[in-house]
């Protein structure tokens, strides 16, 4: 502790001197992680360059796409590609996907919060068995059970409907969401529960007035997680729907890839359009998403 305190003045210096000050510190944890920094720069290029090339291509005129280099800013930028993607029905696909996403998020929020509450607070061995089952459920890959799911959906007479996508998508998002919620509900302190109980609150009131408000961050995390699963889902739409009316955005992109093979800028513009809504969610709810991803590993 005393070592840290002695170093304090150095880190208070104006920000321009901070790097220099850090370099002159005693060896130890405060020394910059050079290897990590270098790796981060390399990874920045690996992630950044393709994404930059993607954006450049979408504002490039089709006839210039092959001629001009992939990394030079286009000499004659245009939004034609985006217009063409919209003409091809991207907005309809986005709307379908939005409907599916909202439904999936709603189902997941209700079921995961009830299950989480039972797992954290119920004192029967049965509920810890439930939790174990959801843990094991993490390992059930949707690819492996797609054939029976297909059979179930046909038997329920739901084939080629949006509901057919919603039901299994929500089910397969549940295990992760229960896991995250259990983690965040365990952080609610025992004293608060006791206070509620002394107040004479039953389980419904405890759930609505204590558990739900206090696990808001967990709930928003699983909401974003479920939305991501629904928005980017590929296998269920691929197997369980076929007509253009029920086409989701991922399937739309897949179809475009087959149909407009030569029109790469148009295709890539559709990719960007498909990602914009998630990007907006990311801008406003990044913290929940990141926290949720970390919650899985951190506990």
């Amino acid at each position: 502790m005393s070592i840290r305190l002695a170093e304090r003045p150095a880190s208070r210096q104006p920000s321009d001197n901070q790097g220099l000050a850090a370099r002159w510190r005693r060896p130890g944890r405060q020394r910059p992680n050079l290897l990590g920094g270098l790796g981060a720069l390399v990874w920045l290029a690996i992630v950044g360059v393709p994404l930059y090339a993607l954006l450049v291509a979408t504002v490039q005129r089709s006839e210039n796409y092959t001629a001009e280099g992939p990394l030079t800013p286009p000499s004659d930028p245009t939004l034609d590609n985006y217009a063409r993607a919209i003409e091809n029905g991207v907005l309809q696909f986005v709307l379908n996907t939005a409907i599916v996403t909202v439904a999936v998020v709603a189902i997941v929020l209700v079921l995961a919060s009830m299950t989480g509450f039972a797992v954290v607070r119920s004192r029967t061995r049965w509920t810890s068995g439930v939790f174990r089952m959801f843990l094991l459920g993490l390992a059930i890959p949707s690819q492996a059970v797609i054939i029976p799911v297909y059979l179930i959906i046909i038997e329920m007479d739901l084939y080629d409907t949006l509901t057919a996508i919603v039901l299994p998508t929500a089910a397969f998002a549940l295990p992760v969401c229960v896991l995250i919620l259990v983690g965040s509900m365990r952080d609610i302190s025992e004293e608060l529960y006791e206070a509620m109980a002394l107040d004479g609150a039953g389980s419904v009131r405890t759930f609505l007035q204590l558990v739900v408000p206090l696990s808001k961050s967990g709930l928003s995390t699983i909401g974003v997680y479920a939305a991501l699963q629904a928005w980017n889902g590929f296998l269920f739409p691929l197997i369980l729907t076929q007509s253009p009316e029920t086409r989701l955005i991922t399937m739309g992109l897949f179809e475009f890839q087959g149909e407009y093979r030569v029109d790469v800028p148009g295709l890539l513009a559709a990719v960007v359009l498909a990602t914009i809504p998630l990007f907006l969610v990311y801008l406003f709810a990044r913290r929940s998403l990141v926290r949720g991803m970390m919650g899985v590993g951190g506990k």
Binding site: I3, S15, Q18, R29, Q30, L35, G36, G37, G39, A40, V47, P50, A53, L54, A57, T66, L71, L111, A118, V119, R121, S122, R132, L138, A139, I140, P141, S142, Q143, A144, V145, I147, P148, L151, I152, L167, A171, L174, V178, E194, A197, T206, F207, L228, N232, F234, I249, T250, L253, Q257, V264, L267, V271, A274, L278, Y282, M293, M294, V296, G297
Partner: protein, 340 residues
């Protein structure tokens, strides 16, 4: 710290009320004996008033729903693997025929080999990079937030979008690679056309897609390592490398398990990208198990045979993750924080 002292305090008051303690121990003997280290805490938990606790019924809707769409299909896929089932009509029981065909199917052998290779290469490729970047991102650097935000971007893209982007970037006729090739003195760069190179492209694209996620996991894990451990190591004169080897790595063991389980299951079930980028080709050089299943089931409509392939996938994926979970105690989530 405060939580622990307060629970000990309640534990002390409890010894004064033997009736309450007796009932607590009577209700849950197994848990009290299991959590050995924090006996005070568990006794305090047991003493809490019982009103407001949810009945087990609260878990029923979630359980039924999940069971119907995930657990039931798991049982069904085992049964369907014993049937012959085309696109029309209903499954006919044929015994073990699918399985005896499966074990001698050279395509299946190749697919299993390729899937295991994909898993192994992905783990070797992704783990060190994710750990390096994650531990770095948990540090105090400036620019860290900005870079982390950029690193996160691939997670927003669907695997369909990622596959389309990379296919466009790697297109041998139009696109960046076609532009770059001649300038590097190469006639044609068709990485998706070569058998080995196509497979390596799949490995790379999967890493590009998933390293951000694993980086986040490691970042979260590294943030939870108590700083006092590093201070103690510093006082003992341990260098950076030794601190990493003896503190960071052991402290990250739960993260390593989680991340590895996700990587293994993810690689074994990798599908979307293969379908879009290579469709299993060229030839069958990227026909991994999930793609083989898709081809048999929804390409040739041999759904019984495809179920056998799928069930193999379930067995391998579940066995692997169970083993990893068992050997590292990930399921025992309460214990990770105790004793700190």
């Amino acid at each position: 710290m405060t939580g622990r002292t307060s629970s000990q305090a309640t534990g002390d008051t409890m010894t004064g009320t033997p009736a309450a303690e007796g009932s607590g121990a009577g209700v849950r003997p197994p848990r009290a004996s299991r959590s050995g280290g924090s006996r005070g805490g568990s006794a305090a938990r047991a003493s809490a008033p019982r009103t407001g606790r949810p009945g087990p019924l609260w878990a029923v809707p979630g359980l039924l729903y999940f069971g119907f769409f995930a657990a039931l299909p798991l049982v069904m896929v085992a049964y369907l693997s014993l049937t012959e089932w085309g696109a029309l009509g209903s499954p006919q029981f044929i015994g073990l025929d699918n399985w005896s065909n499966l074990v001698v199917d050279p395509l299946m052998h190749q697919a299993v080999f390729l899937s295991l290779m994909l898993t192994l290469l992905s783990w070797i490729f992704q783990t060190p990079i994710s750990m390096l970047l994650g531990v770095w991102a948990a540090g105090q650097q400036r620019n860290r937030a900005v870079l982390s935000a950029i690193f996160f971007l691939p997670l927003l893209l669907s695997s369909a979008a990622i596959a389309i982007i990379w296919r466009a970037l790697l297109d041998p006729n139009f696109g960046p690679l076609a532009w770059l090739g001649p300038r590097l003195g190469l006639d044609s760069v068709n990485v998706l056309g070569g058998q080995t190179s196509a497979f390596l492209v799949i490995v790379f694209v999967s890493a590009w897609q998933f390293i951000p996620l694993h980086m986040l996991l490691y970042q979260g894990g590294a943030r939870q390592i108590p700083k006092t451990l590093y201070q103690a190591a510093e006082i003992d004169g341990a260098g950076k490398l030794r601190a990493f080897w003896h503190i960071t790595l052991p402290q990250l063991r739960h993260t390593i398990t989680t991340s590895s389980v996700l990587m293994v299951v993810g690689s074994l079930t990798y599908f979307d990208t293969v379908l879009i980028m290579t469709a299993g080709g060229p030839g069958t050089s990227t026909t991994i198990v999930p793609y083989l299943m898709y081809q048999a089931g929804f390409g040739r409509w041999e759904l019984g045979y495809a179920s056998a392939v799928a069930f193999t996938l379930v067995l391998v994926a579940t066995a692997t993750s169970l083993l990893m979970v068992r050997f590292t105690g990930f399921a025992n989530m309460r214990s990770t924080r105790e004793g700190m």
